[in-house]
């Protein structure tokens, strides 16, 4: 970073001198949307520019809302394997949520429960050693032994990871688990070198950056790794600063104390877009926001009332106004970027106050106040709930908003304490199957407590959906999975109206105008920095 004045002067010089070459639409289906001061948008288009190396800065300062040194990460030298690009997994995820070979160049299912992964040739660790199958085995064993939840999550035990030869690793899952490759397409199961020392807090990975310095709770500084296997690393130094308050983060960006700021508050998005020095980029994530309706508690156990609530909601108005155009109007509870979300096939409950009111009158609703649970951690949660409260009052349904602190929220929802719940869901790996299982299967995370206690649940519509989810979960056949999940979601939305979908989520990153080529990914933790350009 430089002083503001000199940056502005240089910026204008650079802008005049930079040759811009349009390379055409190479990423037409990308959900990136960059908006600048003049209102132009690069939605869906990728432009390639040539740069004079003398006019580029070699450092980028990034403000994160999350502290990369917080959490139980001593297995990775005390730095979480997100954002910093120091550690890499075997599989990556493309912008379309497809699995992409990464440290594994190939993989295949060799039996009902067994998988073989071929390890990529020529990958170097930060200590100069070459990646082998043994390193992969050690990395998985370490994670599986370290975290009590890892074996249940990944469906493997430490002893079931074997090096067949120098380049091949076999995984045997504890049960039939076709989503195993997608589940490990996640930075949490990263590959590292056994020489890393927990005591010295080393991080020895294969990523384009290595940790140079850190100050717990404040910052992590990284520097480029010259022997990186996957192309050039343009940006030499990345300085990640922890700024948890969204307004402060945004002000730090405006003041050019940082060059990139994740998740500015929605109230600042317009001003960052209009500011001549800053820009915002929106990226669609595999997440969705919806209102969960308690399917077993009076009076929301009446499907007519649930349909009425759907008909009283305008997703488009919500996105356009309250959410400042961040997010896309939703038709289902699973983001449309996930191929089996059934988005096109789900019913569209267009806002119809008259029809909704008559459905309420036909239903068992008798004027009682419905409890609407909102987590204190949901951004704009209270505002969104207030808009819905207003719409529901128009059709004669009385709703009281009850904000619950996040740790207590999960417990409260699982106890079935609300009629309506503002829920957000998203996948943080290449496998999103758990989204539908945990929310709608009777034995999924949300429903299992009440299902176990009294055979009910919260959002699970019943046996037919359970069976469809199980069949979808257990198949490795993409088309069959799509068919099963789409049918399950159709029942959830059309027959049962179990939830009110609101938005498919997007996240926002603000950056200074002189930062280009930000390679944001659907899963925000998996951002790629090597190609970013920072003009002087």
């Amino acid at each position: 970073m430089k002083e503001k004045l000199s940056r502005r002067q240089l910026l204008s010089g650079v802008a005049a001198g930079t040759t811009v070459t349009l390379a055409g639409c190479t990423g037409g289906d990308s959900d990136d949307d960059t908006t600048s001061a003049d209102g132009t948008s690069t939605d869906g288009e990728t432009t390639t520019k040539t740069y004079d190396e003398n006019q580029l800065e070699d450092q980028l300062t990034v403000a994160l809302p999350t502290d990369p040194t917080a959490g139980v990460w001593s297995v990775y030298g005390g730095v979480m394997p997100y954002y910093t690009n120091t550690l890499e997994p075997l599989i990556w995820v493309t912008d379309d949520m497809e699995l992409q070979p990464w440290l594994a160049s190939d993989w295949e299912s060799t039996g009902e429960k067994s998988w073989e992964f071929t390890i990529r040739d020529g990958v170097k660790f930060h200590n100069g050693e070459t990646l082998t199958a043994e390193h992969v085995v050690w990395s998985f064993e370490t994670v599986l032994n370290e975290w009590s939840y890892a074996p249940g999550w990944l469906h493997i035990k430490p002893e079931n990871v074997t090096a067949l030869d120098d380049r091949t690793v076999e995984f045997v899952t504890t049960d039939v688990f076709p989503t195993f490759p997608g589940t490990i397409a996640h930075n949490m199961v990263a590959i590292q070198h056994p020489d890393r020392s927990r005591e010295n807090k080393d991080v020895i990975g294969t990523g384009p950056y290595q940790v140079a310095n850190r100050k717990k709770g404040q910052r992590v500084e990284t520097e480029a790794f010259d022997d990186y296997w996957n192309g050039d690393v343009q940006m030499q130094n990345l300085d990640f600063r922890v700024i948890t308050d969204p307004t402060t983060r945004s002000l730090a960006l405006e003041n050019n104390e940082v060059d990139v700021a994740y998740a500015p508050p929605s109230s600042k998005i317009d001003s960052l877009s209009q500011n001549s020095n800053t820009q915002v980029t929106k990226q669609t994530s595999p997440g969705a926001m919806y209102v969960g309706l308690h399917n077993y508690k009076e009076p929301t156990n009446d499907v007519k009332l649930r349909k009425a609530l759907n008909l009283a909601t305008s997703q488009k108005t919500l996105v356009d106004t309250i959410l400042n155009n961040v997010g896309l109007p939703a038709r289902g509870p699973v983001a449309k970027s996930i191929y089996w979300s059934g988005h096109e096939k789900l019913p569209e409950y267009k806002r119809d106050v008259e029809k909704a009111t008559s459905l309420v009158e036909e239903s068992a609703y008798d004027g009682q106040t419905l409890q609407f649970l909102v987590s204190t951690e949901t951004p704009s949660g209270r505002t969104i709930a207030s808009a819905l409260q207003e719409w529901y009052s128009e059709i004669g349904v009385d709703v009281a908003i009850n904000q619950v602190e996040e740790s207590a929220f999960e417990d409260t929802v699982r106890n079935g304490e609300g009629h309506l719940v503002l829920e957000g869901s998203g996948s943080n790996s290449g496998a999103a199957d758990y989204l539908i299982y945990e929310t709608f299967h009777s034995e999924g995370d949300v429903n299992e407590r009440l299902y176990g206690e009294n055979g009910t649940g919260v959002y699970n519509p019943g046996e037919e959906v359970d069976t469809l989810i199980e069949e979808g979960f257990q198949t490795g056949d993409k088309e069959l999975k799509e068919e099963k999940y789409e049918e399950a979601l159709r029942i959830i939305m059309e027959d049962e109206a179990s939830v009110v979908p609101l938005t498919y989520q997007q996240y926002v990153v603000g950056s200074y105008k002189d930062v280009e080529n930000l390679d944001l990914r659907p899963i925000n933790e998996m951002v790629r920095w090597p190609g970013a350009k920072h003009l002087k």
Binding site: G71, S74, T247, T248, L251, F409, D411, T412, S425, E525
Partner: protein, 315 residues
């Protein structure tokens, strides 16, 4: 003096025991399971399995009855072991020590600013009661009390960091990082102390000995600053002492707005993530700071006004 110290030390221990029991109990009746909360955070929102939750509870002794857990924890604390954080893999004592310095810096700077503003403003206000300087001072105090810390913090950032580019926005470092947070926190305190100095001064200025001093022909300055101020400061010292304790743990908003890694920030994060050992250790330390501050205030009374005896204790 010795008797006083022994008696007060016993009180300190008793209060801390009470604080620890109440905190321990409250954490356990708060909904939200630490095992589930922490694993869910680590897994990016996914639900951990029942087996994993049970294992976590067993590893951290959370499967034992609450009184047993308390006794085990207290036994460790008495030996100086505040245990390890569930979420940070660091010793609680180390986490607290790391955070004490930025918070103490902030608290001292804020109090210095508050006192520097409040004492002259309060005195001027009292001396010029019912005149423009008094109205001005009271208006300033009202403004100071009314402004929420987060609002003032953002305002100062916008003016002094974004517009004027004088101070950095966030983080810790040199003195320049301390100025805006200290002003933010000190302003509210200054307002409270100004009003107190004013009313205390007014009361003292009405006392017979002040009139005597005047009738003896002493200079106004000597009467005000030597005779009146010294006595007027007694209640002010109490409030400053209490404010110091409050600032040490109540600076949460300022610490969040200016991204300062302090005790308040840590306490909030730990409560939200149900990090029991950190919450319990921090509450105990903050409790101790409060009690010891009061202790120091009592001693300060004696130094300001020798008529107050240690024998009385409660005066």
């Amino acid at each position: 003096m010795l008797q006083f110290l022994i008696r007060r030390s016993a009180t300190v221990l008793l209060v801390l025991f009470g604080v620890s029991v109440i905190t321990f109990g409250l954490m356990f009746v708060t909904p939200g399971d630490p095992a589930e909360t922490i694993m869910r955070q680590q897994m990016g929102g996914r639900a951990p399995s029942e087996e994993a939750i049970d294992q976590f509870r067993e590893e951290h002794g959370l499967d034992k009855p609450i009184p047993v857990q308390y006794v085990d924890w207290a036994a460790d604390v008495v030996q100086g072991d505040f245990r390890q954080s569930y979420f940070q893999e660091t010793k609680v004592s180390k986490m607290i020590l790391n955070r004490v310095v930025p918070t103490t810096e902030l608290a001292l700077a804020a109090i210095a600013i508050a006192v520097a503003i409040a004492i002259p403003a309060g005195i001027i206000s009292a001396i010029h009661q019912g005149q423009p300087p008094d109205y001005l001072s009271q208006f300033g105090a009202l403004l100071g009390i009314s402004m929420p810390n987060f609002w003032l913090g953002y305002l100062l950032i916008i003016v002094f960091s974004v517009q004027l580019d004088i101070f950095p926005i966030a983080g810790v470092g040199g003195l320049d990082h301390l100025v805006l947070p200290a002003i933010t926190l000190g302003t509210g305190m200054a307002a409270i102390i100004t009003r107190l100095v004013r009313s205390s001064m007014l009361e003292v200025l009405d006392e017979g000995y002040i009139q005597t001093a005047h009738s003896k022909g002493l200079k106004e300055k000597i009467v005000v600053y030597k005779h009146a101020l010294r006595n007027a400061l007694i209640p002010v010292v109490t409030i400053i002492g209490l404010q110091f304790g409050y600032v040490l743990n109540g600076a949460v908003v300022v610490e969040i707005v200016f991204q300062r890694p302090g005790l308040g920030n840590l306490l909030i994060q730990s409560i939200f993530s149900r990090d029991y050992p950190v919450v319990q250790g921090l509450v105990l330390v903050i409790g101790a700071i409060f009690v010891l501050t009061n202790f120091a205030v009592d001693i300060a009374y004696r130094l300001i006004d020798p008529r107050i005896s240690f024998q009385g204790g409660d005066q």
